[in-house]
Symmetry: C2
Amino acid sequence: MKRVTISDIAKVCETTKTTVSYVINGKLNKVSPEMVQKVKTAMKELGYVPSHSAKSLAGKGSNLIGVIVPQVDVTQKMIFDNPFYSEFISGIEYYLRNSGYSVVLSVVNRENCFEDMMMKWNLDGAVVFGIDNDEMVKILGNYAVPVLLIDSYITSSNFYRMNLQDEEAAYMATKFLIEEGHKNIAVVTGKVEKSMLLEARLEGYKRALGDSGIAFRQESVFEGDVTYEYGFEAAKKIEEDPDITGILASADIVAFGVINYLQSKGRKIPEEYSVVGFDDTYQAKIMHPKLTTVGQNISKRGEKAGELILNIIMNRQKEKETWMKCEMVVRETTRKLK
Amino acid sequence: MKRVTISDIAKVCETTKTTVSYVINGKLNKVSPEMVQKVKTAMKELGYVPSHSAKSLAGKGSNLIGVIVPQVDVTQKMIFDNPFYSEFISGIEYYLRNSGYSVVLSVVNRENCFEDMMMKWNLDGAVVFGIDNDEMVKILGNYAVPVLLIDSYITSSNFYRMNLQDEEAAYMATKFLIEEGHKNIAVVTGKVEKSMLLEARLEGYKRALGDSGIAFRQESVFEGDVTYEYGFEAAKKIEEDPDITGILASADIVAFGVINYLQSKGRKIPEEYSVVGFDDTYQAKIMHPKLTTVGQNISKRGEKAGELILNIIMNRQKEKETWMKCEMVVRETTRKLK
DNA sequence: ATGAAAGCGCTAACAT
DNA sequence: ATGTTAGCGCTTTCAT
């Protein structure tokens, strides 16, 4: 399968590479309409497919968009252990699918891996998940490549960001639980001091408590990892505290762990515990009982991220920050306390 | 951030690109040991990162491996609606992560999209999911690029394949249900005539029935899509047939739909129905009750696929076919019928 | 052991 | 409107 190049097309059309290149790049004002037709026909006939390597090398874009997931902890070796990523990335891919850009997946562990990605593939843009760390910012700042940060609390004018209103969302969820009659609400979350996102969510929780005149108790906060396993662990301790009736998890996956432990001990949900997740992953809808959660419409967010990074690349995105709202999705794991 | 090229390194080392290239490519017999050291040091100092575009253009590999998921039906717009893909691809990525190769994700809808992928990115290899269609084979056959087919029943010496023993697996699952005392076992699956994989699984089901002297009834076979939604639909009809006590789904995702419908109607699982899935996705373990299913260890398969495609690229993979075994994972959605 | 030079496919500044 | 040409970073053949 010999590659068809622009030279081949030029030959067939009795013209030169330049003209063909112009046609391909839509600089039609530089080429006569007849030639445009001739070239276009020839391209189709010969089955021309551009070489992105060549284009990239010539200093133009690579048409590659990096989707970069930092591997935070060792346990999470698979990216998609947390369905949040699958759904999000799926959304990005879906939006980009017919744009001419492709998605290169990359899970980076060492800081400099990110640099490598940029340089190696000459990325046109990157969507980077959950970076809170300053070192990374410095590295990222060294590149002209547009970067869209997802769920990062870093404020640097170098980047575009797409965030959730985490504080408000957690406030809403807590408030919801309180209005359902819960007074003792546990929070199961990751290491708060390591993540401004988790911190914001905890703040929202505290504010809701405060607004309702409920005292905050540090013992009700369970900090570990944002994993199924930790949810499971935390639930063991929660079970020991007879006062707790409401549970707020910082991710659906954590809620699953919590629920599963409780159910495995014969506890009834929502009869004995009301639990609220965060994310609204696909599973939340298909499990039984269906999970009450803070919905962030993950795949839509993914699509939006695709749209944003494209707009950024095209230089038509002004706003540096995009905030997305969450909404309560009340399903079956919560109930009113009489 | 100016790019550091081999010329820069050459300059620093007072030598030429050629020598540097030799060092990079490990052709150390062509370079003096001192020079090797000098070059290596310079590379580190200057922070050299190779340009894959240039390498690719120069006729060498692109270091890009395409992971190609054909978009079969319109409904399934997101790749990762079926967690099978997320887990599998996650496994591939995990294996490839430190190999120097990167994964380009691509969901193709039109046949020729595959060609485009190949040419555009100058892929070094491709992992392609579920291709049963002959046209595709012709197209794929045109390329020298190594292709690893996942779950494809196409037999063409052009490709490498990694398959499950589907017939045996379905036989095993059916047999299991029979041994648990079930005589009326429904099958919920996709369009069988369109997929040799589904056909094989149905054959296994029939054989198990036959071996146990149970007559096959076409009415017990529900063909639709391999989706949660179809599982949900099919369950409605299953509920109308009072004889059915066992249900075999052709994928976990389908089983989830079935179970959810049944549970939503207040039916008890496994008390009233025993249902068996196929895949053993992550959710199977974390739902309640936990799903009994045919386990194929998806992420391990993904890792294996990564290993295989790498070996194929390196020319050190002899076997064209790799068959993987499935095992019964008995959990909580099935029970012995008294 | 090292170097010079051509070429991979494409773009774009610069002629014509 | 069209053609000429240099150059992007790298590999590799062919000298030296």
